[in-house]
Amino acid sequence: MYIKKIVYICCMYSSELIKGTLKTIILKLLSVNDKMYGYEITQMVKELTGGKIQLTEGALYPTLHALEAQGILSTEVVNVGNRIRKYYSITQTGKKVAKDKVDEFSEFIGTMMDLLDLKPKLV
């Protein structure tokens, strides 16, 4: 039904591969950082992945607003110079959702590794 017209995440990976991970990424980042604003989130993802994953604004803000409406995120408005900046932080409910999302994704990765017979690279 709601197949996105907007490419979720612009990156070196195919969109099919990482579709559905946007919420997990946002929630994980916000659960380890006290509060973040939109631009900051995109920059941190870019930095952490060495530019391999870059969130597009067209996907980021609708998701942030939806998570806020669901009570998973809360917001705080701060005046920055002559404009408003909205900081997003995770709620108690959101923390549990974030943990579930990360656990689910981790389990999925494990399943895929078994399924595709992939061995973790040893450093």
Binding site: M1, Y2, K4, K5, I6, V7, Y37, G38, Y39, T42, T56, E57, G58, A59, Y61, P62, T63, L64, H65, A66, A69, Q70, V77, V80, G81, N82, R83, I84, R85, K86
Partner: protein
């Protein structure tokens, strides 16, 4: 680092609004994000407006409005799941309830009507609207949304019309015809002419239109179902036998009158019986004429009326009873004569009440409880033309039989 001036921030905000971002919170988010990008990436010597125009396409594939649409869509996403759940539950509930209702109706068990009402109301006012909304949301083009809307209106109307027909409620035929008008003159043309224009959907549209037309045609043939020819024939035969029997007994009575030395009381009996039978014949003729006229025909005989329109329910009641359900004067005059006839026979011939005409009120089980209804209601109210005529003939036969017992 480049620092944006107030008028430049206002310019960006205005541009965001102009491009279809209507939610204030989203406007502020995007404004801050664009400002951050400009402040981080723009060189001091660059032209602000040119730079702004160059970075804006990063935010969308076709236009900025996409972000607003996506946000709105995601904000209603939660409702979508609830709607889908209700859609499935109401659909399964309606289907099962309807099937159980049909099963009960087939076996003449109680509760069928209640289940029909519940099933169709749930189907029409929960399942179909929710289906329409969810399907319409999936459509990108407005014309497809319009087609879904019209199809839903047709679906609701035809289901309600079916319910009204099954429950014998008023306006069933009007609703049925209205739904067919929507199907043939609104839905089908819109569906056909929008689908045929695209080469991709052309063949499917033609095939679907033929199927819809055929299904609509089948529904149209069900509009005014009559009883089978055999039912009409058997009803007519029953009516005719009574008429023949009444004539036979009347002739026998005439022979008896002729052979006996006729007394004054017998003469009076004969006059009274003939008078009532003549009034009944006039009333029957009036009913036949009224029904023929109502069906757009004139000069039909009793047999033609029974064969062609015998099952019509409205004419006899409308002819014999007023809107409050009270018998009209002609029928009441006959009843008065019948009461006098009974009294005369009882007095003059000392007949046992069991051989007299039964004109008593009767007990009948109504919709709620047992109720008392009058003789005229019991014999003529809410009956088909065929049954009304048959009851009149039965009455004539009974009068002739009572007359025979006295001669």
């Amino acid at each position: 680092m480049f620092v944006l001036k107030d008028e430049q921030i206002r310019f960006i905000l205005e541009d965001i609004r102009r491009n279809g971002i209507v939610t204030e919170a989203l406007q502020q988010d995007l404004l801050d994000h664009i400002c951050c990008v400009i402040e981080t990436e723009m060189l001091d010597e660059s032209n602000f407006e040119e730079f702004y125009r160059s970075i804006l396409p990063r935010f969308f594939k076709r236009n900025l409005r996409e972000i607003q649409e996506e946000t709105t869509l995601l904000l209603t996403f939660k409702n979508y799941y609830a709607m889908k759940k209700i859609l499935l539950i109401s659909g399964v509930f309606s289907a099962i309830t309807l099937l159980i209702g049909a099963f009960l109706k087939l076996l003449f068990l109680p509760g069928a009507g209640f289940l029909f009402v519940v099933a169709i109301i749930s189907f029409c006012f929960l399942f179909l609207p929710l289906l329409s909304i969810t399907r319409a949301r999936e459509q990108k083009e407005n014309k497809n949304k319009i087609i879904i809307g019209i199809a839903t209106i047709f679906g609701v109307l035809i289901c309600l019309a079916t319910l009204f027909k099954v429950m014998h409620w008023p306006f069933a035929n009007a609703m049925w015809m209205a739904s067919l008008v929507v199907l043939f003159f609104v839905f089908l043309p819109v569906y056909f002419f929008t689908g045929i224009r695209s080469s991709e959907t052309k063949t499917n549209t033609i095939i679907s239109s033929i199927l819809i037309l055929t299904a609509g045609g089948l529904l149209f043939t069900l509009t005014n179902l009559k009883a089978s020819r055999w039912t009409d024939e058997s009803t007519y035969t029953s009516d005719d036998r009574l008429r023949v029997a009444a004539v036979f007994v009347s002739e026998q009575n005439q022979i008896a009158y002729a052979t006996d030395s006729i007394s004054p009381r017998l003469t009076e009996l004969q006059v009274k019986a003939n008078s009532i039978c003549s009034k009944i014949d006039q009333l029957k003729a009036g009913l036949i004429q009224f029904s023929s006229h109502g069906e757009g025909e004139q000069g039909l005989s009793e047999s033609q009326i029974i064969r062609n329109y015998g099952t019509s329910l409205n004419f006899a009641t409308a002819f014999l009873f007023d809107q409050d359900g009270k018998a009209k004067l002609d029928l009441m005059a006959i009843k008065k004569d019948l009461v006098e006839f009974n009294s005369f026979v009882e007095k003059q011939f000392s007949k046992n009440p069991s051989v007299l005409l039964d004109l008593n009120d009767v007990f009948r089980y109504g919709e709620k409880d047992q109720e008392v209804i009058s003789w005229e209601q019991n014999n003529f109210d809410h009956l088909s033309i065929a049954l009304t005529l048959r009851n009149f003939n039965q009455l004539v036969l009974n009068i002739r039989l009572v007359e025979a017992t006295c001669i």
